[in-house]
């Protein structure tokens, strides 16, 4: 599944100009912009999640420090992010996204490197795709005869059938002599009761 993901090659630097100018004006290393894109496959397999619906997707920087939303085209941006190593998480019901490690370089202003933390895969272009779809519900097995047979009731019936139809057959195959001996033994032991069937507690 993971290997199937195709991650394209390209780092977005279109904001570098702005970031540069800001860094100069403030005289500090603050104020870079992280731009990225979340891509959700538009073919939804489940009916409870509207396919391609991105209004419920949140992008979270550094564990809740900032939260942003997706534009209709899937793009998002965080403004005024200081240089350093940051963590971006995507919260979307129905999809599992890996958190992304984002390095905002101070020396090379505006240069951003991103890598998925789950599989340490580097991202050349800042496009986040879900690693897998999440299935929150068990799927009911379709009706089959086996499921009935496997259920405790089915087993009870099955066991009963074995006792009723197979046991007499077994009895028939027994030697009549042996049978008589067994019956005698039983008689000697007394009335068979449930107590005999249960393991004796000594």
């Amino acid at each position: 599944m993971r290997s199937k993901l195709i991650l394209l090659l390209f780092v977005q630097l279109c904001f570098a100009l702005f970031a540069l100018s800001f860094a100069h004006s403030s005289g500090s290393t603050e104020g870079y912009t992280i731009n990225g894109r979340v891509k959700i496959p538009s073919v939804g397999t489940k009916e409870f999640f509207l396919p391609g619906k991105i209004s419920n997707v949140k992008v979270i920087l550094n564990g809740g420090q900032r939260v942003t939303f997706l534009r209709p085209d899937g793009y998002f941006s965080f403004h005024n992010v200081p240089a350093g190593t940051h963590l971006i998480e995507v919260a979307a019901i129905g999809y599992f996204f890996s958190p992304v490690r984002v390095d905002v370089s101070a020396r090379n202003p505006g240069k951003i490197q991103a890598a998925l933390t789950e599989n340490r895969r580097g991202l050349n272009e800042f496009v986040l795709e879900p690693l897998r779809e999440e299935q929150y519900y068990e799927i009911r097995e379709p009706f089959s005869i086996m499921s009935i047979v496997k259920s405790p009731m089915g087993l009870m019936v099955g066991f009963m059938l074995i006792v009723v139809f197979l046991m007499p057959k077994l009895m028939e195959n027994m030697d009549p002599e042996e049978m008589r001996r067994a019956q005698e033994e039983m008689r000697n032991q007394g009335v068979p009761s449930l107590a005999n069937l249960l393991p004796r507690s000594s």
Partner: protein
């Protein structure tokens, strides 16, 4: 034969236990869980009713929620929850299709699509200075200029295109050190006036071209005195502000590009006025409202600059902004509140004599005062104007009032739950009214036949619908009596508004609610805050006839030095039994493990002056405490100083006024962490009411380990001072996380461990003998979860059989908190994908059932993770014996199985806490997660091994029995016949 039966029975048992998986089927949603969505206290509201079709009201709240509500029913069309520090400053509609929100102190501007809440654009407005943030969307402009939004924020004036959020121009005012308070856009000549003060008396006005941001003119005037409060614009060229003594009104006039000002005494307008006036921020043309003592005064600004008193409203009132009802005609509303009635009055701004509307509405008196009102007009069928009003109350609830009636109300106070406790429901008795649940046999059979069809997957779609409806409406779960399994309880929640709600665990409905008098704003108590809620009286043996009650502890203000307030509430009726406003403060509340003869639990309230106060204040309670005097220990954490202290009671208070219920205490020990290398960020202890079934843990090699189970363990997490901030502020080299396990009676440090290159935030849960904590590893740049298990080594030698025989074992020796047993710890760390907001462990009635961790993730979902995954004994290749014991092979990260999200496809937006309560049924634990939303469910960490599941098919059982009986009968007949044949032979 016997073996066969036993084997068969075991097999059947095994099968029946594997039948129910932990995860849910989609059609089981809503059977044992409920999910309620809230918004929080409404700050801004804008109506959108112009077009035909859906009528909406758009709100933003103090929980940073932006939402669109159905005006007919109050349902949520959509809502978006912004980040916790992204407070909404202003909200408006632009272009008739976008909702514009300004948030984060005027630095983020977003546009949301009106029908579905999709964010259309976002723009970041940057500036250098904190300032008031103002959003101004010019109305009634010509179509070609209809796309400009003016924002003042961060010390700059921005003009933003409302189509794509592009910043068209920016004018920086931060250099002028002006505090801008108003911006006025005059539509005729496309000019923006920016007005504000430098200092408190120097009034400045800048005239800016709205097309390009060019500064056309600036003007200033030095007022002879300072000003107080906000500047209010009364018309496009007139401002009012209070003079700093708050007894005069300053009117500032901008006519003809000149600034003129005029002072008027409030006492000239209204006789015998004393006290401090405040200008209310209602935007009314030509009128402003003044609050004086508890009155509201409406003052009209006459054309020649004179002030005329038009109305004095006596009771606490709320005044709306004006709405335009027709060309040049504006109306506004005010509401007065009296006991359980509100008087809703709408007046024309210009024609003062007649009321446009005057209505009296009966209202539940547990809602407090009216805080805010927003009005909207509509055209009635007879072409007259009708008005509706959205009212935000003191308890944060939201009402829509129309035609003298409350159309809908929302209990949005539940979006800000502060603390939760539970209470049992009354026992079912004769005479207690109980909903009818008993159906006749035919219906019962029919229901089970339907269920059977469902399980066999041969149900038609109509049947499926019928089954679902039948299961959901099952009145069994929402009865108001105690049930055998202990699933039905009352959740008693304290909200930030000071209102206490009792929610039924069956369906989440509000059983009662009470707005506490002690937690309402009053002269004695300026800004009360509710702190905690405790079980005060849980009658079970002695006082069966009494109702249980809860204790609510609050404080008269945000600082620790504010005096305490206490309330006692009946848990069945919501009646406030008693309330106290003691003179002492509250720093800590300690529920003691002792109860008096009426099952009232003893509580110690520790104040900031090193004194402890005993509650309830009865001589009986003193007797009990005297008896256990030397057994009361507690600790306190001073986060700022990095000190943890242990305390014990010392003696009665030594004061002039004799207070029998006051005690001095002494410090037993203290642990001082070096402040240059460690700062306390989290402390966690075990839940006081947690039950542990067994101390012994049998290992694979028939070895026994003894868990070190002590109620007095404290987990402390410290980080390096540089790593106190959020992720991204510290480098791995300068950050470390140091964790301690401390015995709070003796002050002994049982365990200390350092995680290098790690930082907070740390979320931890302490249960039995283990602690699990979540933190961030900067080196790997991933979150980690670690587990520490503590074992008692002093008992370890008891496994020697010879010692047991000779009697040299110490199993019967009493366990003492003073002893210093030798302990060993085992720990291990794992990666965890998500950030965490809350973490909790399941709790069950007897503690037999294995534990699950409930992890509230950053995506506002709650994940149930088996404690077995966080076992420090996991190895790469577990031996056969270890596998049988259930040890999972070691992996570097914890698995996230999507079926084990207990919130399934729902989100508990703004998740803040998770509470678990044991049910009476040992296998089951009740889970309540709260945030902006509330979510409740019950989970069985080891599956429901002690009861049949909900979808157990009785019909199938019946059919089987019938089949068996028939088979017996048939075989009996057959055997008879065979015997007869044999005899004939």
């Amino acid at each position: 034969m016997a073996m066969a039966i036993r084997a068969f029975l075991i097999f059947v048992l095994f099968l029946s236990s594997t039948q129910f998986c932990f995860s849910l089927y989609e059609d089981q949603v809503g059977l044992m869980d409920w999910h309620h969505q809230y918004l929080g206290k409404v700050k801004h509201a804008v109506f959108h009713t112009q077009k035909t079709g859906r009528k909406r009201v758009l709100v933003s709240t103090e929980e940073n929620v932006v939402a669109s509500l159905d005006l007919r029913h109050g349902d949520i069309f959509w809502r978006q929850i912004l980040g916790t520090n992204d407070a909404v400053d202003a909200l408006d509609i632009a272009l008739g299709k976008y909702i514009i929100t300004l948030s984060s102190d005027g630095s983020i501007l977003r546009a949301w699509n009106l029908p579905d809440g999709q964010m259309v654009w976002e723009s970041s407005l940057q500036g250098l200075k904190m300032s008031k943030s103002i959003l101004n969307i010019p109305k009634n402009l010509k179509a070609n200029k209809d796309d400009l939004i003016l924002i003042f924020g961060q010390g700059c004036l921005h003009a933003v295109s409302s189509i794509d959020g592009e910043v068209l121009w920016k004018k920086d005012f931060s250099g002028q050190s002006i505090e801008v308070q108003q911006i006025i856009h005059s539509p005729h000549n496309d000019i923006v006036y920016v007005a504000g003060f430098v200092g408190s008396s120097n009034f400045y006005v800048y005239k800016v071209n709205a097309k390009n941001g060019e500064l056309l003119k600036d003007n200033n005037v030095e007022l002879p005195s300072g000003t107080y409060g906000e500047l209010l614009s009364v018309s496009s060229d007139m401002f009012v502000v209070l003079e700093d003594t708050r007894s005069k009104i300053v009117m500032i006039d901008l006519k003809n590009e000149e600034i003129n000002y005029k002072y008027s005494h409030i006492s000239d307008l209204i006789k015998y006025s004393s006290g401090q006036a405040v200008i209310l921020p209602s935007r009314l043309p030509g009128i402003f409202a003044l609050q004086l003592n508890s009155h509201s005064i409406l003052i009209k600004v006459a054309n020649e600059g004179g002030l005329v008193l038009v109305e004095k409203i006596n009771d606490a009132a709320a005044i709306s902004d004006a709405v335009s009802i027709s060309e040049g005609q504006h109306a506004f509303a005010f509401v007065q509140h009296e006991d359980n009635k509100i008087y809703f009055t709408v007046k024309d701004v210009d024609n003062w004599n007649a009321d446009l509307l005057k209505e009296r509405i009966v209202i539940d008196n547990q809602r407090g005062n009216i805080e805010k009102i927003f009005i909207n007009n509509y055209i009635r069928t007879d072409r007259s104007n009708g008005f509706r009003a959205l009212i935000a109350m003191e308890d944060h609830s939201l009402l829509l009032v129309q035609q003298g009636d409350i159309v809908w109300s929302r209990e949005d106070g539940l979006a800000s739950v502060v603390d939760v406790t539970t209470s049992e429901l009354p026992v079912e008795k004769k005479g207690v009214s109980v909903a009818k649940v008993e159906q006749n046999l035919f219906e019962w059979l029919k229901g089970h036949m339907l269920k059977l069809k469902g399980t066999l997957m041969i149900a038609s779609p109509e049947d499926v619908v019928a089954i679902q409806a039948m299961r959901l409406k099952s009145s069994e779960k929402s009865k108001m009596t105690r049930d055998h399994n202990g699933f039905r309880k009352l959740l008693i929640v304290l909200t930030r508004a000071g209102k206490v709600f009792a929610l039924h665990t069956g369906d989440g409905r509000i059983v009662w609610s009470v707005l506490l008098r002690t937690l309402r704003k009053s002269d004695a108590c300026e800004r009360p805050v509710g702190l905690n809620i405790y079980q005060w009286q849980v009658p079970h043996h002695h006082a069966m006839d009494e109702n249980p009650s809860v204790l609510v502890v609050g404080r008269c203000g945000p600082s620790l030095a504010a005096p305490a307030v206490l309330s006692f509430i009946d848990a069945y009726t919501g009646r406030e039994l008693n309330s106290l406003s003691p003179a002492h403060t509250v720093a800590q509340v300690i529920p003691l493990p002792y109860t008096d003869s009426t099952e009232q639990r003893l509580h110690l309230i520790i104040d900031v002056n090193q004194q402890a106060y005993l509650y309830p204040k009865t001589p009986k309670a003193i007797d009990i405490l005297q008896h256990e005097f030397s057994n009361v220990y507690w600790y306190s954490v001073e986060v700022d100083n990095g000190i943890i202290r242990g305390h014990a009671l010392n003696s009665r208070c030594n004061r002039e006024v004799v207070d029998e219920y006051c005690f001095d205490f002494r410090d037993l020990w203290s642990i001082v962490f070096p402040s240059e290398s460690e700062r306390i960020i989290t402390t966690t202890r075990r839940k006081l009411n947690e039950v542990v079934h067994t101390q012994a843990k049998v290992m694979t090699d028939q070895d026994v380990m003894y868990k070190y189970i002590s109620k007095n363990l404290l987990f402390v997490a410290n980080v390096a001072p540089k790593a106190r901030g959020e992720i991204g502020t510290a480098t791995p080299e300068e950050s470390w996380l140091v964790i301690y396990i401390i015995d709070t009676v003796t002050g002994r440090i049982l365990h200390r461990m350092t995680h290098h290159g790690c930082q907070g935030p740390v979320h931890a849960v302490f249960s039995e003998n283990w602690v699990v904590y979540h933190y961030f590893n900067l080196r790997a740049h991933r979150h980690e979860m670690s587990v520490i298990e503590v074992y008692d080594q002093s008992r370890a030698d008891n496994k020697d059989v010879w010692k047991l025989l000779v009697g040299k074992h110490n199993l019967t020796s009493p366990i003492s908190s003073y002893s210093r047993p030798e302990v060993i710890t085992k720990s291990q760390s794992y990666y965890f994908t998500h950030s965490v907001k809350a973490i909790e462990a399941t709790s069950t009635a007897k503690g037999i059932t294995s534990k699950q961790l409930l992890i509230g993730t950053i995506g506002d979902q709650v994940l149930a993770l088996d404690k077995r995954f966080l076992d420090p004994r996991r190895t790469l290749n577990p031996s056969q014996a270890e596998k049988e014991e259930g040890i999972i092979p070691l992996t570097d990260s914890l698995p996230i199985v999507s079926q084990s999200y207990i919130t399934h496809s729902l989100k508990v937006e703004g998740l803040r806490g998770i509470v678990t309560v044991p049910a009476k049924l040992e296998s089951t634990s009740l889970v309540f997660a709260y945030g902006v939303d509330l979510f409740f469910t019950r989970i069985a960490p080891s599956r429901t091994y002690d009861s049949l599941t909900e979808d157990f098919s009785y019909a199938l059982l019946l059919i089987t029995i019938v089949a068996l009986v028939a088979a017996i009968f048939v075989s009996w007949v057959l055997s008879e016949r065979k015997e007869l044949q044999d005899k004939w032979r």
